[in-house]
């Protein structure tokens, strides 16, 4: 964002940039501490709550040094963290409830990612470019939606075991036969439940790319291209890995000879 503002002739002093980067880092640690505290394996550890609070206080101190008393910024900040807190509470309700998890719920829960906007919002406020905020929010929302879909896909079995209900789990239903679909889709048809999830992720990715273009965030071009390439290659990576793991697992369960062929490496030839 600083690069994008520089293109407009708006310089951000290095000291300010350092503080904004500090907000990004400390804010991330704040969210991680909260997330670990909410995680089923560590609930009840008060140290994490204290750590999260301390990190947030440090973030706020840095933010004040960047935006001062800007009413529009702090109003926005309050809105973001209110939505963030509501989303945390809603996550617990979703996990414990029985209501089907649909796209709308998935997107509502993504409010947990809204604090990611805060550092760049501070730069926009300082630069007098507040009108770019909706595009920035769209960029962050769509990027995190694409990430979350892939995370939910790779966490499919773990989420099912832990009873963590997700949109992906609801859409896919279970992993029975999913490996066949993955192999099929990567080799020929391009259809199936895994491919449908990847298509959804690509759709969010395209939204994020559109927002980046509208923002003239040219610094994000390489990142966006790399991400698209990885999303498009996900099925191929998955099927290669699946075949490799499958063959290796067969080898570990081998009952007897011939052993000579087992010296060869498994995988595609």
């Amino acid at each position: 964002m600083a690069s994008r503002l520089r293109d407009e002739g708006i310089e951000t002093p290095e000291e300010t940039l350092g503080r904004v980067l500090g907000v990004s880092s400390l804010g991330y640690f704040h969210v991680r501490a909260q997330d670990d505290w909410l995680d089923a394996t560590s609930t009840g550890d008060p140290t994490l709550v204290a750590l999260a609070e301390a990190l947030l206080a440090l973030c706020n101190r840095l933010l004040v040094s960047v935006v001062g008393r800007s009413a529009r910024f702090w109003d926005f900040y309050a809105e973001v963290f209110t939505a963030y807190s509501e989303s945390l509470a809603h996550t617990t309700e979703v996990r414990m409830g029985e209501m089907p998890v649909a796209r709308e719920t998935f997107e509502h829960l993504l409010a947990q990612a809204r604090p990611l906007v805060i550092p760049c919002a501070a730069l926009l406020d300082r630069a007098g470019r507040w009108q770019l905020l909706p595009l920035l929010e769209e960029f962050v929302f769509a990027s995190t939606a694409a990430s979350q879909l892939i995370n939910d896909l790779t966490d499919l079995d773990g989420d099912r075991r832990l009873g963590h209900r997700t949109w992906t789990l609801a859409a896919i239903g279970g992993s029975d036969g999913l490996w066949s679909e993955a192999i099929d889709a990567s080799m020929q048809s391009g259809e199936g439940r895994v491919q449908e999830r990847i298509s959804q992720a690509l759709s969010y990715h395209e939204r994020s790319a559109q927002a980046a273009r509208a923002l003239a965030l040219t610094a994000a071009d390489d990142w966006l291209a790399d991400r698209r390439s990885k999303l498009e290659g996900f099925l191929g990576s998955l099927s290669d890995k699946l075949l490799s793991v499958f063959v290796e697992e067969l080898a570990t369960r081998r009952a007897g000879p011939p052993a000579d062929a087992l010296q060869r490496s498994p995988g595609r030839e």
Binding site: S147, I150, I183, M187, L242, V245, F246, R253, R254, A255
Partner: protein, 86 residues
């Protein structure tokens, strides 16, 4: 490369060496073992020397291993950060 074999994995019988060797040498054969629809035909190849009873048992066992492999492959992608979506 890690495998998903663990103390918590379900008990599964051993796989005949002829099947393992062929799966290692022949990717198409390995793919046909992964997929339930093509597995019976692959297992019935006379070169493997499997009885109908062995084929039937292996069909079920390989389905179990395919499911576990899928889970392990997903985890490997996540843990290796191949797609960097964390």
């Amino acid at each position: 490369m890690r495998t998903m074999t663990s103390p918590n994995a379900p008990y599964l019988p051993k796989i005949p060496g002829s099947v393992v060797a062929r799966a290692i040498q022949d990717t198409d054969f390995a793919v046909s073992l992964l997929q339930a629809s093509t597995r019976p035909a692959a297992l019935s190849d006379p070169d493997l020397g499997l009885t109908p009873a062995q084929q039937a048992e292996l069909h079920t066992v390989l389905g179990e291993i395919a499911g576990l492999s899928f889970e392990a492959a997903m985890l490997a992608i996540k843990n290796e950060g191949v797609n960097d979506f964390r």
